[in-house]
């Protein structure tokens, strides 16, 4: 029995195709536009599964473009869907949507119904953000940058949720950090070049590249939270 499966293809490939065909079946039953779109994303995941089934280094390098392409298509189609729904609802006055608006607590009004006075709502975001930023700085490199950015984003979004504006000093600091990212990028490039030009000083170059990348990725991704606050 096992030989029969292996005779056609590796089981991973078969699983990928099965997931794809089952999702197609589900899409054909689906009448709701949004559900069909989400199910279509499952087909993209099956595509990644098939590429991953090749199982070599090259396949690993091919997954990333595949993922990016499928995400780009998902974004484009969802944007079309949003515009379509908006045209259908025929609102007289167009309303501007803010970034990450759905993270506000009550989805319909965007305001807290009751006046919640809880100390933990104000203190815990700062604490968690600082913990994440320190942990990211220790990690360094691309992963550390992503962790730092998560901390910054978490802080910005939580301030939005409890309805408090971010203070001007933090905004200025934030802007300064994003200004630093260009310098950090140069640091990363020089560190990376150093690997090839001075292979003896690899530790220094590694630290330079890691430090540059952590500042760059952290500030660039954290900018998303900053953009949301700028009027």
């Amino acid at each position: 029995m096992e030989n029969l499966v292996y005779y056609f293809y590796h089981p991973t490939i078969l699983v990928g195709f099965t997931v794809g065909i089952l999702s197609l079946l589900a899409i054909s039953f689906q009448k709701d536009d949004l559900h069909a779109l989400i199910l279509t994303d499952v087909v993209d995941c099956a595509m990644l599964l098939i590429i991953a089934g090749v199982g070599t280094d090259l396949a690993e390098a091919l997954i990333l473009p595949g993922l990016v392409v499928s995400l780009a298509e998902l974004l484009a189609v969802s944007e079309v869907l949003i515009t379509k729904k908006y045209l259908k609802s025929k609102k007289p006055k167009p309303r501007r949507y803010k970034l990450f608006e759905e993270f506000k607590l009550p989805l319909h009004t965007g305001e807290l119904k009751y006046n919640v006075e809880m100390e933990v709502l104000k203190t815990s975001p700062k604490f968690l953000a600082i913990v994440l930023i320190i942990y990211g700085a220790v990690l360094s490199g691309f992963t550390g940058g992503a962790v730092i950015a998560t901390g910054l984003l978490f802080y910005a979004l939580s301030q939005r949720v409890i309805g408090v504006n971010i203070s001007e000093e933090i905004k200025a600091l934030w802007e300064g950090m994003s200004g630093l990212s260009g310098v950090a990028w140069a640091l990363w490039v020089f560190g990376f070049l150093g690997f090839f030009i001075f292979p003896d000083k690899w530790l220094l170059c590694l630290l330079m590249a890691g430090l540059g990348l952590v500042i760059k990725v952290g500030s660039k991704l954290g900018l998303i939270g900053y953009i949301g606050e700028v009027k």
Partner: protein, 218 residues
Amino acid sequence: MIETISGFPFGIVPFGDIVFGFSEFSIIGFITAIIFTIIVYLTKPEKQLEAEKFRIEDKLEVVTLKELKIRRMMAIICGIATAGAMLTCDLFDFALFLTLVGIANIGIVSAVKKEWVLNASYQYGLIAMISTLPLFGSAGMILAKTGTLSLFELSKTQISLLFEKIIFAAGMAGETGIAPFYAAKAEMFRAPGSPYILMIHLSSLLLIVRTVEILLTI
């Protein structure tokens, strides 16, 4: 006879793994795509006059400046992606260009604020997303079977790639929106704004021809 379909090879651009190659076939497609991109950049969009049935007033459809800017940009991206797809000699790279053209096609019509156009574009987008599975899946399976994605190496191999080729062709048909999936795309063409809509048509036409060439050579 089939070996010579791509014509005399003029040379390659060795960019590491992904090699761009110039042959008689690909140069013609490349130049056509570039010329049409320049035409799209230079021309103004058409104005449609919609005749109303049983009524006096006719409606003049004008593409507004804001709409024009985004559509022109997407049309130029579509043209550049088509030109790249003509030259590339890497199967996965070609699949990526195909998908990029699909995204750009959605982008060209998505700026039109008409519900039926958006509806058609949404349906086309779903098909384009689904067809990434056969497209990239067949590229992955060809890589697994032969160990290479370069078209020069693939043309030398003796392994039968019939199933993969069929799947690749199916993926291309979905991504460019030809015959079985044409219903959604035909509605998209009726949107006002001529040169941009023509770009959708031209890109899918060139990509079909190029896919046929690739499937015959490998």
